[in-house]
């Protein structure tokens, strides 16, 4: 149905621009298979009401159903419900994990008055360690790299004591990380000895 998009006639080749669902990224007509149908429908209703009308009208829904046999329809419905439940579960779990995940900013003493700052636990908040390390290096004009921690996970090591600035920067620039989830730690043991 080329009439939806602004498609030129074949004589004048032109790219069509089609709308993708903001929730599941599929073209809206495939939302029903994405597992987040309800949310997709709401999204479409808000952002593209005309399209919503066309896709979710009574007629369209009935036409969809009539093309399948009864048993196939039942199976499909069951499957869709299962998928939806799964998607919802994954989402809540993800949110929980995010809420629980702590970002640690650690100040580690290297050599009496020299420190490095180690940041760990950023992956859980959907941040890319490698990119962030580069950004930090630029921001503080120091060496900054991704290193493996003894436990095997990855962390960012920034040279110099930048923990306070870093804390503010994280909260400001990366709003994704809630402030209360960031922990500032100073390596106490070494600090005591110095």
């Amino acid at each position: 149905m080329a009439d939806v998009a602004e498609g030129g006639p074949p004589a004048e080749p032109q790219a069509r621009h089609i709308i993708y669902c903001g929730v599941c990224t599929l073209p809206p007509e495939y939302c029903e298979f994405g597992g987040t149908t309800k949310k997709c429908e709401e999204w479409l209703k808000e952002s593209h009401p005309d399209m919503h009308e066309r896709l979710y009208s009574e007629e369209a829904l009935n036409a969809n159903l009539s093309s399948l046999s009864v048993s196939a329809r039942e199976r499909a419905a069951k499957d869709a419900a299962k998928k939806e439940a799964k998607a919802a579960l994954a989402e809540t779990r993800d949110a929980e994990r995010k809420a629980a995940a702590k970002v640690q900013i650690k100040r580690v003493e290297r050599n009496k008055r020299k420190y490095v700052t180690v940041i760990s636990g950023l992956e859980a908040h959907g941040l890319d360690n490698k990119k962030l390390a580069k950004e930090l290096g630029k921001k503080f004009a120091t060496g900054s790299s991704v290193t493996k921690s003894p436990t095997g996970s990855e962390e960012i090591t920034v040279q110099g004591d930048v923990s306070d600035d870093l804390f503010e920067w994280l909260v400001e620039v990366h709003g994704k990380v809630p402030e209360e989830n960031i922990e500032l730690i100073e390596d106490k043991k070494k600090k005591g000895s110095s």
């Binding site: 149905m1 080329a2 939806v4 074949p10 080749p13 032109q14 790219a15 069509r16 621009h17 089609i18 599941c24 990224t25 599929l26 073209p27 007509e29 495939y30 298979f33 994405g34 036409a63 969809n64 093309s67 399948l68 196939a72 499909a76 499957d79 869709a80 998928k83």
Partner: protein, 176 residues
Amino acid sequence: MQPGSRSKVKSSVQRTLRNKLIETYPGLEPHIDEIIPKKAHLEAMKLPDRATLYTIDTNTLFFQPFDGPPIPHLRLLHAFPDALPKVRIDRGAIRFVLSGAALMAPGLTSAGGWLPEEEKALEKGQVVAICAEGKEEICLVGQLKMSTEEMKEKGKGVAIDEGHYLGDGLWKLNLD
């Protein structure tokens, strides 16, 4: 799927690739300047299984498996839907396709599906776009595992596997 390392494509390689595309997909020829503008610089990105993804800025254009022909990304196909030969699957098959199953011949031969007539039959190995009954957009692209005539004859077996479908890792790949 994680984005891999990216590198600029040499202009000579870009030219060959462009010619190859026109050769493989004659339907794309009128659009080629729009897809790959003369001035634009292609970037190649490595994907798992030795596949390569070609992009311009953040637009994904094609991916190429190690040993196969370049296959257009679905977003590109949505922009130029007439570039590839099309077949259609019935409604019942959509949900399996979108969850990544191999496309089986019955989904194409049944009442809701559609295969080209005998004169326009597609050979094994041809890259086709698959649209779905009652839908406008293309939902899968891949290489045929058997010719369309064979499908009509046998009516069973795998028609396409390892295709690129809506919502797979490649579709969700975030380039920024």
